[in-house]
């Protein structure tokens, strides 16, 4: 029996539910013809190899070669995460000595908070939040440690250490102003608690702000990776003091309830995770949330799309995540305007769209954009 992409996606979800301890039922895979390499590739694409390995640990149906490769990979992931964690601890101490208030964002510290163990998340680089006024000084100090600036963006600076190969991002905003001006202006990283990592206390934002920052980050990437949704599911279990009324009320004041409801609807649909009644009720009240969640799921196992379709998808997701019709209209207008700007060679221009796809397709895209 051959499996298709949807089968592998369902199998992966089953594994993730088990790894996140949301389901204790034994894993069931088709005995013959199950495409293990495809499952692994899908897990790899979603950066959830450590969780897949945790789920398959006790399963007898996993071929020895697959198990061996998974375990070997997970050892490398842990070693890399420990390497990042030790560097993070040193950097925070370094900043503290220099009077710079810095806070870890995602990475090893949040992995420890959400999963309780550095083994369960693939961490690519280090992210640190600090005030924009301290960025220049922080970069100067980091150059003493061998870091060089690789890229400056409108919300962060990327640095790399050629000696160790480590990447570091210094953030002063949760997202780019063009992505969401209201959210980009928020300062969500006032220290509310601490966590001990490698014998060092590290500051953390409040549970509500951790969730909100995770929601913003996932939304920026259109929830394309299951890793970010696993973080949300893990946060629901790991942050028992999280006050949902505060989260919904803060998001509502900014007109961003959909931003926080979408990942919750997704983890409910994907992992059968029970949501607090206030959250479940809020999701019911906004029918677009369930539609968007279903749409995102389809993309999780879809094959690669053309550059044009990807551009349309990215913009449509950004627009559809807004609750206000007026905001959606403004974003659509801004998107179209960007396409006709001179020298925007890398952009897709409407006239080219018409030539290639014709008016019917354009109308379909517009409908998709507006949700």
């Amino acid at each position: 029996m051959q499996t298709d992409a949807a089968d592998e996606y369902r199998a992966l979800l089953q594994c993730l539910r088990r790894a996140l301890q949301l389901n204790g039922e034994p894993l069931a895979f088709p005995s013959a013809g199950f495409a293990w390499p495809c499952l692994i590739a899908l897990a790899d694409r979603h950066d959830v190899i450590p969780l897949l390995n945790a789920a398959l640990r006790d399963s007898d149906s996993v071929p020895a070669q697959v198990r061996q490769r998974l375990e070997s990979r997970c050892r490398t992931v842990i070693a890399h995460n420990l390497c990042l964690a030790s560097e993070l601890a040193e950097l925070l101490e370094f900043f503290e000595r220099s009077g710079i208030h810095a806070m870890p964002f995602k990475g090893p510290a949040w992995t420890k908070v959400l999963y309780g163990n550095l083994a369960y998340r693939q961490i690519r680089d280090l992210d640190i939040l600090l005030d924009q006024s301290e960025i220049e000084r922080a970069c100067a100090l980091l150059s003493e440690r061998g870091y060089v600036v690789a890229k400056t963006q409108c919300k962060d600076i990327e640095l790399e250490n050629p000696g160790t190969g480590l990447h570091l991002e210094l953030h002063w905003s949760a997202c780019e102003p063009w992505h969401d001006k209201r959210v980009s202006g928020l300062k969500l990283w006032n220290a509310a608690s601490t966590i001990s990592l490698l014998n060092r206390r590290m500051p953390l934002p409040s549970a509500e702000n951790i969730f909100f920052l995770l929601a913003i980050h996932g939304a920026r990437h259109r929830w394309e990776s299951l890793k970010w949704l696993c973080d949300i599911a893990a946060a629901l279990g790991a942050l028992p003091d999280l006050d949902w009324d505060v989260v919904l009320s803060q998001a509502g004041k900014m007109g961003r309830r959909r931003l926080v409801l979408l990942p919750l609807a997704l983890v409910n649909q994907l992992f059968d995770l029970q949501l607090p009644s206030s959250v479940a009720k809020a999701i019911e009240q906004d029918a677009a949330v369930a539609r968007l969640a279903a749409y995102i799921q389809q993309r999780h196992y879809a094959g690669p799309s053309t550059a044009v379709r990807r551009l349309i998808y990215c913009e449509s997701m950004r627009i559809r995540m807004r609750e206000s019709f007026f905001e959606r209209l403004c974003l659509l207008a801004a998107f179209l305007f960007r396409q006709i700007k001179p020298n925007a060679n890398d952009r897709l221009r409407p006239y080219r769209l018409f030539r290639i796809y014709g008016p019917a397709t354009i109308l379909k895209f517009a409908r998709e954009l507006m949700g």
Binding site: P37, I40, D44, D47, R75, A79, N81, L82, C83
Partner: protein, 136 residues
């Protein structure tokens, strides 16, 4: 012989199922310790003798209180640079061998997975930690 003392400085550890992964920042290397070696590494504080460590292994993991098992674990820790006192261990381990320890544990009905083992993990790089290729 001095009591064995594990190195702690510059080492960071995390558990993966029944293994412990130790990252050595100074050398940018990582080692995977099975449960037996991890327990010895954890308890080797310079105060406990080899016999005491053997009794600890017995109480914690159900392994026979065999000093040979501890000595083999210490030998492997020494080779990985995870011990502070190692000269003395080297002399003691001449008396034992991995095969002999494995045979004794097997006779006692202990799983082969409990035979002391330290595996070195290739020094990880960011690229290695985020990409995986599994052949068809």
């Amino acid at each position: 012989m001095n009591n064995p003392k594990a190195r702690r400085e510059g080492l960071f550890s995390e558990c993966l199922a029944e293994e412990t992964v130790i990252y050595d920042k100074a050398n940018h290397t990582a080692h995977t310790l099975n449960q037996t070696v991890a327990t010895v590494w954890e308890w080797a504080d310079g105060d406990k003798s080899v016999n005491e460590l053997a009794r600890l292994l017995h109480s914690q993991l159900g392994i026979p209180a065999d000093p040979g098992v501890v000595l083999l674990a210490l030998e492997q820790l020494q080779a990985a640079g995870l011990l502070e006192t190692y000269q003395e261990v080297e002399k003691e381990t001449e008396r034992t061998s991995r095969r002999e320890v494995a045979r004794r544990l097997a006779l006692a009905g202990v799983s082969a997975a409990m035979v002391p083992l330290v595996a070195s993990v290739v020094a990880p790089t960011p690229a290695m930690a985020v990409s995986m290729v599994i052949p068809e």
